[in-house]
Amino acid sequence: MTLKLTVNGQVREVAVPWNTPLLNVLRNDLALNGPKYGCGLGECGACSVLIDGMAARACVLPVSAAVGHAITTLDGLSQNGQLDPVQQAFIDAQAAQCGYCLNGMIMTIRALLNHNAQPSTQQIRAALEHNLCRCGTHVEILQAAQRAVVINAAALQEAPHE
């Protein structure tokens, strides 16, 4: 079956069974390797993508559920060659150690900021509660998230989104 997906602003056609996990389609068929395969059960968050600006765990979502929605992966987060403020913040804070969970961390913070531009530290912790990091970079990740709030606010002032 041929499905039409809107991924990172482009319409892509894929011939896959409708119930293939979205993650497999993104990585295997569309070569978008930003989202990672972690637990495969929606527990760890490494596979997170944005769907219509909301966080989504791509490993438990059948691809058919994403038809008709705008999918954004980490690969498509930068705009006009400029990194997204959240990406920039993670680089600035040097928040990667093994880096496997960072896709999920970045996408989740992006989704949080889409909804709440000025989250408190408590709200950031709650948002990342179900994104698992197992190499112990939690402190740097939280610092990066807080920096993301600042850079994002500055970027918003420069070019208001809406």
């Binding site: 079956m1 041929t2 499905l3 039409k4 409708w18 119930n19 996990p21 495969g40 059960l41 929606g42 527990e43 968050g45 769907i51 219509d52 600006g53 909301m54 966080a55 989504a56 765990r57 438990v60 979502l61 059948p62 058919s64 559920a65 038809v67 008709g68 929605h69 989740t108 989704a111 949080l112 889409n114 909804h115 709440n116 989250p119 709200q123 709650a126 948002a127 509660e129 179900h130």
Partner: protein, 1025 residues
């Protein structure tokens, strides 16, 4: 037809005006072939009628023959129908194919609609041109609702009781028929109010044909004659085909301006006289039609037109550099046409055409019109309406709440009608913007918003207009106030009997008051047609056609836009990029059934001798034996019965069978029900098929096991079973042997089922409850019959038979899943309401209860095929079993919030379960402050399964996950069977119970139950590999 329906008709007086209880009953016999060609009426000629063929009938039966008109009149409708069947008539064939032309015309116009892209402008030097043809049906539909049409005719007077939307035209037909003057003919609706002459015309329906039929028979016999108007008159709708045909052509300049504009109208009158009038030879046949006289009008016509040519005038509010408008002139003696109808037809063609030109040339439809208007008032009116509606192109669809299966669109149309003296300037201008929502699955079209601006005349009753259009053009409004409940009527108002608004409910039909209809205008208005004038309605049809195009990309060039036509057009156009996952057929509940205990069977075997005759094999009926309408009805019946769910093996093709059913008595396999002659049901006659469906006996005479729910299917009506047979026989044949059942003795002896049937099977068809509403009876018919709800939801006795009485729908266990109670025993934390049940059945989710999963998921998937009304009916019926309220009360909402708040904090002392929950579940099941697409939308504190006395469904969901594969809107949940041990699942389930259902006692004995349910055959859901 149900016994009740027959009884009410045979009884004679029910629904008939009081003084007409002496009426006799007439049934007409139409020629084998008859049709309206667009210019003349053609039919076979009657050669002879053999009255002797009626000798065997009881009572007095009269045959009325006038020209080619044949009718039989008897003392009851049933006898008259028998007489109509028995009467031998001989016809001289004039037409070879019945209605071939009209069908072809319709098909072509629909084809043009779906292939609009290929009809793009042909570039010819500097100019581009467009040409389109629009049609108007002779009969919009067969009628508003099934009902009596009675005529009482004498030498000096004719009284007719019935339903009509075109009283003037009907009166003219009756005058031509009887030779009486207009003042000697009185028309009444069935509550005996005289029908108002103000009623508007969107065209005629067959109420007029039935009235003429009744009048002919009444006059011939000198007594009142009653005719039953129902979907049988659809044959007149088809035979009469198109009444009007309008061709339009435009040539555009480079700048997109319309330089040349041609409008040509085939007929001066957009009406066709009643069938009976033509057949009796009393219609004034128009002389040979002269060629249309072209009328070149460089400017808008003004007041100097000859009133006699009124109906042949072509009026247009627009100014084009070069325009040619022409219509056939009215013939002397021809039925004078209704100026209103002509105005509506013209506006429909013109406004649809301008919309097409605008969209194909990349212009805003409103701007294009404004370019060609000189009249300041018109421009002002259009601009103000566009502003009020927030008109913009493309229409920004409200994305927030719209369900996936709804297509939305917006359209514009404008009309200006002349005043009584044919002066355009003094006439009424009317600009419309309409929004429609199209259900892409059912084809149902809802007119969701209507903005009408009019520069003169009385205030516009927008709600009334909306309702009228919804009923007449979209044909979907179905209030409960029916004359006769048609519990087995399917669908969408085109081929099946409809439930239109009873304009004038008969005083003798005492039914429940009308409840909510699907339209926004929910109240039953008194004769909405009386409130409307032609000027008001004239852009109404075009505006819907334009909005439909905006929503679907399909152009409909002839009304009405019934769900059936829309659905078929959508289907045809959807073949390209399938954004919608095809609804594949898949797993279902494997329902096993305990078979019989030997001793009891032995006791009854004498009465119910098990050996049934073999029914002779037949050649497979050819695919074209049944009409497309019948096959379509059969498709809906199959969807309601969910045949493919059981008759499709995992990964196999639909209906080929081979799905295994584990029962305590061994393994059963579903059979091949494709029409393959060797391995399927290709050689089954209808009689054999019906016997299997009603009595559980295979064609070869052997008994079927009641895993096949013939106990429920027996309730289906004859018409539905026939349609189902037609549908199955029209499917591709697939050769596939069914595996041999592996049942242990004595259950392997099929004959024993005879005794079981004698004890527990009641093969009587469904009987509607006359004390209940039409909606209830429809729901009961679907739920008890084809839908076989009780097969899973009613507990069974030791013999494997469903219990009834208080135990009906009291909940049961099927294949490792609990089918929860659907009666007052429901354990839902927030009581179910009719609204919640509808949401659950239609969308697979009720936010106050949870999602459809396990064996229920394919049921919801099957229901997606059914029209809105049917799903509502099932919800209504189930709600009645639960004694549930209609909507969700404020109390329920507050209680839901309280439960959610209480469950926000984890309950102490269950750390093992809490860790599992936080790790595996909370990411999707708890609020984290991040907007999440993949989050479960029903809070666990409201989940019915967590509040049940039994943990089965919770365990199943944890082990297998939730996979409502083809129901859009239901999320998916992965299964944890491979990552959690039995102890972990038990810890988690206990934790969930304590936290989210704190008012319920903890579940006991979880681990052994989990171990049982782990057995692979119990897991009905699919784990994604």
């Amino acid at each position: 037809m149900s016994k009740r329906t027959l009884a009410s008709q045979e009884g004679g007086c029910e629904g008939l005006p009081v003084q007409l209880t002496n009426a006799r009953y007439g049934v007409v016999i139409r020629p084998p072939h008859y049709r309206w060609s667009g210019e003349r009426f053609e039919s076979d000629h009657l050669v002879s009628v053999d009255r002797a063929s009626l000798a065997s009938l009881q009572g007095q039966v009269d045959v009325v023959v006038v020209g080619d008109f044949v009718g039989v009149v008897a003392e009851s409708l049933a006898v008259a129908r028998d007489a109509a069947k028995q009467l031998q008539t001989e016809w001289q064939t004039v037409l070879s194919e019945p209605n071939e032309t009209t069908k072809q015309t319709l098909k072509n116009s629909e084809k043009m609609g779906s292939e609009h892209r290929s009809l793009r402008y042909q570039e010819s030097q500097a100019e581009v041109s467009a040409q389109r043809v629009y049609g108007w049906p002779s009969r919009m539909r067969w009628g508003n609702h099934p009902g009596w049409v009675v005529a009482d005719g004498g030498d000096h007077q004719l009284k007719v009781w019935g339903q009509t939307t075109t009283p003037v035209a009907l009166q003219q037909d009756l005058a031509s028929l009887t030779g009486l003057g207009a003042s000697q003919i009185e028309l009444y609706s069935l509550d005996q109010q005289q029908i108002s002459n103000q009623a508007t015309a969107l065209g005629r329906h067959c109420g007029d044909d039935a009235a003429v039929d009744a009048a002919l028979m009444s006059q011939a016999l000198g007594c009142p004659v009653a005719v039953w108007l129902d979907a049988r008159y659809t044959q007149d709708v088809e035979a009469l085909g198109q009444a009007q045909r309008m061709s339009l052509k435009a040539e555009l300049t480079d700048s997109g301006e319309i330089a040349r504009y041609h409008y040509r109208q085939a007929n001066s009158s957009g009406e066709v006289a009643a069938v009976g009038l033509w057949l009796s030879g009393r219609a004034t046949e128009p002389a040979a039609m002269p060629e249309p006289i072209p009328k070149t009008t460089p400017e808008v016509p003004t007041g100097d037109s000859d009133p006699a040519q009124f109906s042949s005038s072509v009026l247009s509010p627009y100014v084009f550099r070069d325009q040619h408008l022409s219509a056939r002139l009215q013939q002397p003696g021809q039925t004078p046409s209704s100026a209103t109808l002509i105005g509506i037809q013209q506006a429909f063609a013109r406004e649809s055409f301008l919309d097409e030109v605008a969209r194909d040339s990349g212009q805003d439809p409103v701007s294009l019109r404004l370019r060609h208007l000189k009249d300041a008032r018109s421009i002002e009116l259009i601009e103000s309406v566009a502003k009020r509606a927030g008109w913009q192109v493309p229409f920004k669809k409200p994305a927030d709440s719209a369900p996936l299966d709804l297509l939305q669109g917006r359209g514009f149309a404008f009309a200006q009608l002349p005043d009584r003296h044919q002066r355009m300037e003094a006439g009424v201008r009317s600009a419309w913007i309409a929004d429609v929502a199209v259900n892409r699955v059912t084809g149902d079209v809802q007119l969701t918003r209507l903005i009408v601006g009019q520069d003169d005349g009385p205030e516009v009753d927008t709600a009334g207009l909306q309702q009228t259009l919804q009923e007449r053009i979209l044909g979907e409004a179905r209030p409960l106030l029916g004359q006769v409940p048609g519990f087995d009527e399917w669908g969408d108002g085109s081929d099946a009997p409809e439930r239109g608004v009873a304009i004038t409910p008969s005083a003798l039909v005492n039914r429940e008051s009308p409840a909510v209809t699907q339209t926004k205008t929910s109240s039953l208005r008194p004769a909405p047609s009386d409130l409307l004038t032609g000027a008001e309605l004239s852009p109404g049809v075009a505006v819907i056609a334009n909005a439909l195009f905006d929503a679907t990309g399909i152009r409909f060039r002839q009304p009405p836009f019934t769900a059936k036509r829309v659905r078929e057009a959508l289907k045809a156009s959807a073949t390209e990029g399938a954004a919608q996952p095809r609804l594949a057929k898949r797993a279902s509940g494997r329902r096993w059934l305990a078979a019989a205990a030997l001793t009891t069977v032995a006791g009854t075997a004498v009465m119910a001798w098990p050996w049934k005759s073999t029914l002779a094999p037949v050649a497979r009926p050819s695919a074209n034996l049944y009409s497309a309408e019948t096959i379509e009805r059969g498709r809906l019946v199959a969807a309601a019965g969910d045949c493919a769910a059981c008759h499709t093996a995992e990964g196999g093709s639909a209906n080929v069978g081979g799905r295994a059913f584990e029962t305590p008595f061994g393994t059963l396999y579903s059979t091949n029900i494709t029409p393959d002659e060797a391995t399927g049901i290709g050689q089954w006659s209808y009689a054999a098929f019906e016997r299997a469906m009603r009595h559980g006996i295979s064609r070869d005479g052997s008994h079927l096991y009641p895993a096949f729910p013939y106990t429920a299917f027996a309730k289906a009506s004859d018409a539905d079973l026939q349609a189902l047979y037609a549908y199955l026989m029209a499917q591709p044949a697939v050769a596939a042997e069914t595996p041999t059942n592996e049942l242990s003795f004595p259950f392997s002896v099929r004959g024993l089922m005879a005794g079981w049937n004698a004890l527990y099977h009641d093969p009587t068809p469904f009987q509607p409850d006359p004390m209940q509403s039409e909606l209830y009876n429809r729901g009961a018919y679907l739920a008890e019959g084809l839908g076989h709800c009780s097969a899973c939801h009613s507990p069974r006795n030791v013999m494997g038979a469903e219990k009834s009485g208080d135990a009906y729908l009291a909940g049961a266990f099927v294949d490792g899943w609990e089918a929860p109670p659907l009666n007052t025993l429901s354990r839902a934390p927030i009581p179910w309401s009719e609204t919640s049940l509808y949401d659950y059945l239609r969308h697979g989710e009720s936010t106050l209860h949870g999602v459809a999963s396990g064996p229920m998921a394919p049921v919801v998937e099957g229901l997606a095929e059914l029209p809105e009304y049917d799903v509502r009916a099932i919800a209504h019926y189930v709600a009645a079993q639960m004694q549930a309220p209609t909507g969700n009360s404020d109390v329920a909402v507050v209680e839901a919030e309280r439960r959610v708040t209480n469950a926000a904090v984890s309950s102490p002392g269950m750390e093992a379960g809490e860790r599992l929950f936080e790790g595996a579940c909370a990411a999707c099941h708890m609020e984290t402050g991040v907007p999440t697409f993949s989050r479960a939308s029903t809070n666990l504190a409201l989940n019915t399964n967590l509040h049940s006395d039994h943990p089965d469904n919770v365990i199943q969901s944890i082990l297998g996950g939730v996979h409502a594969d083809h129901v859009p809107g239901i999320g998916t949940m992965p299964g944890f069977a491979d990552s959690f041990s039995n102890t972990q699942v038990a810890d988690l389930a206990s934790y969930l119970r304590a936290r989210f259902a704190p008012d319920k006692a903890p579940w006991q004995q979880l681990e052994p139950r989990i171990n049982d349910l782990r057995q692979p055959h119990h897991n009905n859901t699919h784990s994604t590999p």
